[in-house]
Amino acid sequence: MASPPAVAEQRRYQSQEKSQFAIEFEDVSIAFESKPVLEDVSFLLRHGETKAIFGVAGSGKSTLLKLALGLIKPDSGRIRVLGEDVTAMREDDLFELRRRVGIVFQESALFDSLTVRENVAFRLLEEGHVSEEEIEERVREALSFVELEQTVDLYPSELSGGMRRRVAIARTIITHPEVLLYDSPTGGLDPVTSNTIIELVVKQRDVYHTSSLLVTHRLQDAFTMGTHYFDRAENKMKPLPPDSRKTVPMCFLILRDGCIIFDGGLQELRETKDEYIREYIS
């Protein structure tokens, strides 16, 4: 996939000028049917950084992503995405912001009555001013990024679980969003396919410097992302040399009972004394 177009790059710089952070959560709380799911959650995501979010099932990880996208509103607190306060925005204004933010859903959420081409091109078709030729070119480009060019005329039901996730990633990145949200992109997949997905996430982080939140149950995925980088020359993910000072923009956040119990880098996570976290990551 070629570099993001100049317009996307320009938008990225404007966002960085507007706010130092891609995403800001400030004392966010939400409850469903009187049951608290998130309580006073605060964290920051810097531009170009990827934050892996862990937590047991029901700890509010997916809710956190939906809040960031304004799909649901918090009961209290503030959420700013690319400098815009999503908690105070009307749905019509949120549609504009969502064009700059992408999400990969847990079960892919591809439109089952549309082909892979129509799914991937959905945003461009909705914008209405993109020519047929450009749409075709960008669909091919996005699908080649996830190495699924041959599936362009198939329907989602004809794809495997891993292929559906990759098509979902292609659909998300076709407009070069400034922020990406991944909801368990490797959940339920075999280790080989999971590795392919993680490589795509790392590629997006290191080649396009996209800010991301990644919800996952698989610790090994997040650790792989913290210890690997994407080599553009060889077009593959490689481990960071042990003696190198090179680091990757990766940090970790752990949720427990709706509260954040850890927010930091890989080294801090490895050195933590917290019994629960040590047991969780062991």
Binding site: K66, E91, F105, A109, R123, G128
Partner: protein
């Protein structure tokens, strides 16, 4: 089984009415906002309109035939069997045509809308659409509402015609009424007020059917079981509402047309 308190039950119902009113209002408001999704409107018109033609012709024809038999039996006792055409024509155009079409379209399309949108809700496709910057109400609900309302108008005309034709066949077979006389009396009895009433009702019915079908679909919860429940509720609620609204709109139209 968990019992719900009367207060919570009442709150739930009031909230549902509020949500329905919002959906119905926004589906209309979206008609004046861009984009209008012409292709989706035409696709829905094809599915809802042309897809329903065969059942509308069949039900209209047999209802008209049955109406002719019943009214012919009564008229025969007064020696006025030649008035069958007038009775069938008035009955079909003012009442049965719109009502039967409404019930048929409710059964066929409200269920389809609820199950299609409900499946999209439970598989997160609606969330995905919102996340991709598209308003699902504008893209999915408004085209269905507009297409159903417009196509109900034309389907009712087809139903009226089929019903009168069915009545004509039954009159000729069972009562020996001359076909030309039947059609002539059936046509002559109709005045503007009858046609106005018969064609105003389907517009309202179409709006009710589509908004109810979409409402139950968009609020479906609880996986495939929830989608099944939403589908049943959509058919039941839209059918009942069509019949209830028919009662009130008939009174209202009779008052304003004085006929």
């Amino acid at each position: 089984m968990e019992f719900i308190s009367p207060t919570d039950f009442a709150k739930e119902k009031v909230l549902a009415v509020q949500e329905y009113a919002t959906l119905a209002g926004r589906s209309l408001g979206n008609l004046f906002k861009r984009p209008l999704y012409i292709a989706d409107i035409l696709q829905q018109a094809d599915l809802i309109g042309f897809g329903s033609v065969s059942i509308i012709i069949l039900t209209g024809f047999f209802i008209g035939g049955a109406l002719a038999q019943n009214s012919g039996y009564t008229l025969q006792r007064f020696g006025s069997v030649s008035l069958i055409g007038q009775l069938v024509s008035l009955g079909m155009v003012r009442e049965l045509g719109p009502l039967i079409t409404g019930l048929m379209v409710a059964g066929r399309n409200a269920s389809g809308m609820a199950s299609e949108l409900g499946s999209m809700i439970v598989t997160e496709q609606i969330d995905a659409m919102r996340a991709l910057g598209t308003d699902p109400l504008k893209k999915l609900v408004t085209p269905r509402v507009l297409a159903t309302t417009v196509m109900m108008f034309f389907l009712t005309i087809i139903s009226d015609f089929s019903g009168i034709a069915g009545g004509g066949v039954a009159s000729q077979i069972f009562f020996g009424v001359d076909t030309r006389q039947y059609w002539s009396t059936a046509w002559q009895i109709l005045v503007f007020q009858d046609v106005f009433m018969g064609l105003a009702k389907p517009l309202l019915f179409g709006f009710i059917i589509a908004t109810i079908g979409c409402f139950y679909g968009m609020t479906a919860r609880g996986g495939t079981q929830g989608v099944g429940r939403a589908t049943t509720q959509a058919v039941v609620a839209s059918s009942i509402l069509v019949i209830m609204v028919d009662f009130f709109i008939t009174r209202f139209l009779m008052t304003i047309t004085g006929h």
